[in-house]
Symmetry: C2
Subunit: 358 residues, 2 copies
């Protein structure tokens, strides 16, 4: 069996294929997105996510085609001019660039890859939205929840937007401290790619309405007002990825059954195991030095010239790490630590890594 | 067996489920969209469509999440100010409204539902894009190819955009007379929803580049320049609906095997059969009176007060028509005539319809 550790699209969740087979068997991919049957599992997906993440009243869940789309839609619907971006890698940078491409005037605070923002000065400005990439999939840097929570007080008027693409369902966010949160399903949820999940509160809706009332275009079918007006009917503006929403409903249900607490504990256990193995390894080491900002869900190893040897040593066990990102493609390896990756697989991975000598 | 005649999402193509099973078996839903394996079936999908539709050199194929998205992207990337829309139903109207929502100044020529545009005066203007909805899914009106082809001469500078959402793969377009063509896969292709296919030529690319050079925002990750730069590498800007692209490659291959000529002939045969049955029926009649503009792929029946009786009479045979659209929900029925619907199914449908007495 091949175990895929690429951080997205990653290994499917253990139940995904079974749910997909059932979907085809019962005709889900050809039902109308305006039918009661569709509305039923749409609602199941939304309510499941609200239960799993303990999302309070006043928040809404809508669906897009990807998290990349949510970078665009969140700027389009929530920012007239200025967003403030914390950039520490490829994906946080792309969010920033999205705002530029849409003709806004974003500003950024940037640090080198692998670093955090502790002690880094923040510009004196009045941004409409603060863009926080909770988990930089490219480098394996993740922020302590305290850091995420620190913005509300500093910027009481701004919308706090959290991109948690490659960390959810692991992190436990405080929904009093953030206004919008999003992710895509092909990472932690172990589902086929092609669906983004966007969670927004009333403050976001009011902001989009405010832009609209000023005559600013907030987009068309996937503007926030359009998405909200349809989600309250358990529908989408367009014909969506019906199968994707069905599978999300089912796997979210499985996560609830398993228990989010157990998922978090297992994630911590597996991450500790791998970081320990990397600390001890003579062919690899953790790329992120500061333990406070090490991701629990995307673990990046500095592997340098040993990269091919490590890949070759792991393959006989069916273990397939992800390449490093961008310019680190051949000098780093990335390991997704998602709910689908079992403790046994991580133990095998760490034992196998430990046995590799230079 | 249940045979679904709703015009999208409709009955899956006969081979779709098998391809999906193979996809899960071989790990397609969890491969990286930056892998060689992905590029291979991306290219297979693109080349398959070029062969099937006989698309000439100088045209490119890109993917979005839906045809609804292409309404937005085509306006965003190809129109600075004025698009001209031919509106004769709900979907052509939505394309027009998309341009309004994006802050453009679209104009429209509008006729009542069920009618065509023969003899209708066209405004004297200089639109950047002409939006033609080839097949109005809401009413079953479809345009003769000659009508589509008549615009090039009248508007030599404009981009001729054809929405063929619910008619492809049936119609045979002349790519010398149009600049961009699009559809979504959950209709004629019988695939799970969540993928739009957008075909564009060099004129479209030049137009988008021209807007960009003037400082006009053409969007972000799914701007036409961004999509084109990635499709030439057989990739997408974002993590796309990987499974959807794989299935499209496979079903397009099946269509090529079967032969587009055979598909067109069978479509004509089945459409003739149903229109004939409706002409003879004492409980239903064709909604579109003018035979020249009757759709071959979405056949709409005026059923009035007999609607529930017809539905009840067809159900024992496993035949499920689609509801009428919008305000015609209870007074019309719609029948998709796609490649997945067999001659035998259509013969059964027509016989069953013929037996219903008021």
């Amino acid at each position: 069996m091949k175990i895929n550790f690429t951080p997205g699209p990653s290994q499917l969740y253990v139940t995904t294929e079974l749910h997909a087979r059932m979907a085809f068997k019962t005709g889900i991919p050809s039902i109308s997105h305006r039918s009661k049957e569709f509305e039923k599992f749409y609602e199941e997906a939304v309510n499941g996510l609200k239960e799993l993440f303990q999302i309070p009243q006043g928040f809404y869940v809508v669906f897009t085609a990807s998290a990349t789309e949510i970078w665009e839609r969140s700027i389009q619907s929530l920012v007239a001019s200025e967003s403030l971006h914390f950039v520490n890698g490829a994906f946080s940078k792309k969010y920033f660039e999205t705002a530029q491409q849409l003709g806004r005037n974003p500003i950024k605070v940037e640090v080198k890859e692998g670093l955090g923002f502790k002690g880094v000065p923040v510009p004196q400005s009045n941004p409409e939205l603060i863009a926080l990439t909770h988990n930089e999939t490219s480098t394996g840097v993740s922020w302590p929840i305290d850091f995420v929570n620190s913005f509300r007080e500093k910027y009481p008027d701004a919308i706090i937007a959290v991109d948690a693409v490659s960390s959810l369902p692991y992190p436990k966010f405080d929904f009093n401290k953030i206004d919008t949160l999003f992710f895509s399903v092909q990472k932690g949820f172990g589902l086929p790619a092609g669906l983004g999940v966007w969670i927004v509160n009333e403050k976001c809706i009011a902001k989009a309405d405010n832009l609209l009332s000023k005559g600013i275009s907030v987009g068309s079918y996937h503007s926030l007002p359009s998405l909200i007006s349809m989600t309250t009917k358990n529908q989408t503006p367009e014909t969506p990825n019906v199968l994707g929403i069905y599978l999300l409903a089912k796997v979210t249900g499985d996560f609830i059954q398993r228990g989010i607490k157990a998922i978090r504990q297992e994630t911590d256990y597996k991450a500790a195991l791998l970081y320990q193995a990397l600390e001890k390894s003579s062919v690899a080491q953790p790329f992120v030095k500061d333990k406070d900002i090490r991701s629990q869900t995307v673990i990046v190893a500095e592997t340098g010239e040993h990269t091919p040897a490590i890949i070759n040593a792991l393959q006989p066990f069916g273990l397939y790490p992800g390449d490093g990102y961008g310019k680190a493609k051949t000098t780093q390896l990335r390991f997704a630590n998602f709910p689908t990756h079992s403790k046994e697989q991580y133990e095998l991975l760490c034992d196998s890594l430990g046995a590799i000598k230079p």
